[in-house]
């Protein structure tokens, strides 16, 4: 009985290889498609030049476009997709809520507010980095949203609706705060730039962003994989996890801290991209089942590939114009959200 699509042992190893190959191909495609399409072979040659010092006669401008703009951008998109995906996975598991996601719970909005407060309003006087501000904002938002849902009687098993509503309230609040800060402190041009960034945008991404996004996504990934068994133990709720020997509070603090961190870093680089954290874990669960030892890598891979593709779509869907990537993910994500909502309510009793 094949319960999950990729359940059988024999197919496991090729699946890992296949996943990684798909990721590599997506990265190459991401570097090759754009305003001017560059042949695949050229992309590979440029990467060989840059990474292994190979020698091919390729135009320096093309080299620059591929290496400095597109490839770095594709890697950031991949890190961001992986990071948001595993962040959503952790939230869904720990909150026992199939609709949990950093965007829906207001964590991304909190991170935006934190980042904007540092960048525009000059909070911290330059001593605090954008990412640190985003991290603080993300944590404040999470604590506020969880606190609100608890105050609204969300202790019991019917908490799932409460926390989503609290997330809506939290998002509204932090988006309003962000707008307020922008209106007060930013000039018109800054404001336009920030608004564009808030919807999710990878156009400004360069190599320094890679050195931030990729290590953070990787470290958070390792932390989550390390806690895979603990996350599995939450299947029947926090009490059951505790009776299986998991120190629930410590696990929650570490993993939600990690989820908030990766969300905050991604928001500070590319803005608030919605629905990745919601949809990707569900797709991964469909493929490999609910055990986190496999679910976490699958989520990271699918998230990475999904966001590279979303970024490509955002660049080519309207010729000569870049659509915010958040618009693309929302166009895919909202129907998926509706589907999960309908299926989830049918599944519950």
């Amino acid at each position: 009985m094949a319960r999950h699509l990729l359940d059988r042992r024999i197919v496991r190893l090729p699946v890992v290889a296949l996943g990684i190959s798909l990721l590599v191909i997506a990265l190459l495609v991401g570097a090759s498609i754009g305003e001017t399409n560059i042949p695949f072979a050229t992309v590979v040659q440029v990467l060989a030049i840059k990474m292994f010092g190979a020698d091919y006669p390729i135009d320096a401008i093309d080299q620059g476009i591929i290496w400095n703009y597109r490839f770095s951008r594709a890697i950031v998109a991949a890190s961001c997709g992986a990071g948001l995906g595993i962040s959503g996975l952790v939230l869904q598991t720990l909150l026992r809520n199939i609709l949990a996601d950093p965007y829906i719970l207001g964590i991304s909005a909190g991170a935006s507010t934190g980042a904007v407060a540092i960048a525009v309003a000059g909070v911290g006087g330059g001593a605090i980095s954008l990412s640190a501000g985003a991290f603080v904002g993300a944590l404040v938002a999470f604590v506020l949203v969880v606190g609100l849902s608890r105050a609204a009687g969300g202790f019991a098993s019917n908490a799932s609706g409460q926390i989503i509503l609290a997330g809506v309230a939290g998002s509204q609040l932090f988006n309003a705060l962000t707008s307020f800060i922008i209106a007060r402190s930013a000039n018109a041009e800054q404001a336009r730039g920030i608004m564009f960034w808030l919807l999710g945008n990878l156009s400004g991404v360069r190599w320094p962003d890679v050195w931030l996004a990729t290590p953070v996504a990787f470290v958070v990934f390792i932390i989550i994989v390390f806690h895979a068994r603990a996350l599995d133990a939450f299947a029947f709720g926090a009490d059951a996890a505790s009776s299986l020997g998991i120190s629930v509070r410590r696990t929650q603090i570490i993993l939600i801290g990690a989820a908030a961190l990766v969300t905050a870093i991604m928001v500070s680089i590319v803005g608030a991209i919605g629905f990745v954290g919601l949809v990707v874990p569900h797709a991964a669960r469909y493929l490999v089942g609910p055990r986190h030892g496999r679910l976490t890598p699958a989520t990271a891979l699918i998230g990475a590939i999904f966001l590279i593709l979303a970024d490509i779509v955002s660049r080519i869907v309207i010729p000569g114009q870049v659509m915010p990537i958040g618009v693309v993910t929302a166009l895919v994500g909202s129907p998926a959200f509706a589907m999960i909502l309908v299926r989830g309510s049918r599944g519950a009793k």
Binding site: A233, F236, S242, S243, G245, S247
Partner: protein
């Protein structure tokens, strides 16, 4: 080796749910907890498993305050099947039972042959082996209950705490689970509603309104007078002609006939 409650009190906000309970569970015995709905059985079991923090007093395990033992070590010694446990994850029965090995596995220890054997045995013992690959959501209530018990058995703990383990089970599986519990060389603490089943425990504790009314052998404690007072039913002892054992038959007292309850 013993698990004991010392002046255990637990409050939810201002309401005292468990009030000043002191007793000890002896190694190897089957200890039954009985009492009306809401008398605090489940809460007491959660406290004994270390899942609730006592408001006052303490639970001790081999003389050590349970609050000072880390969760992992506790879970290696005490397994719990709580009253209501469900999941939306699409886990199979086997995967659920495998969770019982969690306290014995590190983050990167692989799930070994020995673990697999323990899980297999637990599946067989609780009669769910034929359901091993079935998905949780497709199981009946009784099958879920047995899978949970299998999961607790796979935990290989010396103490097994079961909250109404016979709940949802057909009569065959009720008796099978109780027989299994008796067969196992471990200490079992269980909440029960069927007083005749409670008769099969080594000792029982009777709860009422958050207090432990009495602890002792079923014969000594489950008297007609006490059952009448605590459960508000009349109990008539009947001798089973087959084995000569006492069975309790229950009836509502005269003034509370069902017609008047409406």
């Amino acid at each position: 080796m013993s698990l004991a409650a010392n002046n255990l009190t637990w409050c939810a906000g201002r309401t005292t749910i468990i009030e000043d309970i002191t007793f000890e569970v002896r190694k190897g015995e089957i200890f039954g907890l009985v009492g009306p709905n809401g008398s605090g059985k489940s809460t007491l079991l959660l406290l004994l498993a270390g899942l609730r923090k006592p408001t006052r007093g303490k639970v001790t395990f081999n003389g050590v305050n349970l609050a000072h033992i880390n969760r992992r070590e506790t879970a290696q010694q005490i397994a719990l099947v709580a009253q209501q446990l469900d999941t939306t994850d699409r886990l199979s029965v086997r995967e659920t039972v495998e969770l019982g090995r969690t306290p014995w596995l590190g983050p990167i220890t692989p799930f070994g042959e020995a673990d697999r054997k323990i899980v297999e045995d637990a599946l067989v013992e609780t009669g769910v082996a034929h359901l091993a690959e079935r998905q949780w959501q497709t199981l009946s209530g009784g099958e879920r209950q047995r899978a949970h018990i299998a999961r607790a058995l796979a935990q290989k703990a010396d103490y097994l705490i079961l909250d109404e383990p016979t709940n949802h089970l057909d009569i065959h599986h009720q008796l099978a689970i109780l027989a299994l519990i008796k067969r196992l060389p471990i200490t079992v603490i269980l909440a029960l509603h069927d007083l005749n089943q409670a008769m099969g425990c080594d000792r029982i504790g009777i709860m009422e309104g958050g207090r432990l009314e009495i602890v002792g052998s079923p014969e000594d404690t489950l008297t007609a007078e006490r059952i009448n007072r605590i459960f508000e039913v009349m109990a008539h002892p009947i001798i089973d002609p087959v084995d000569g054992k006492t069975i309790l038959k229950f009836a509502l007292p005269e003034e509370k006939k069902p017609t008047e309850l409406k």
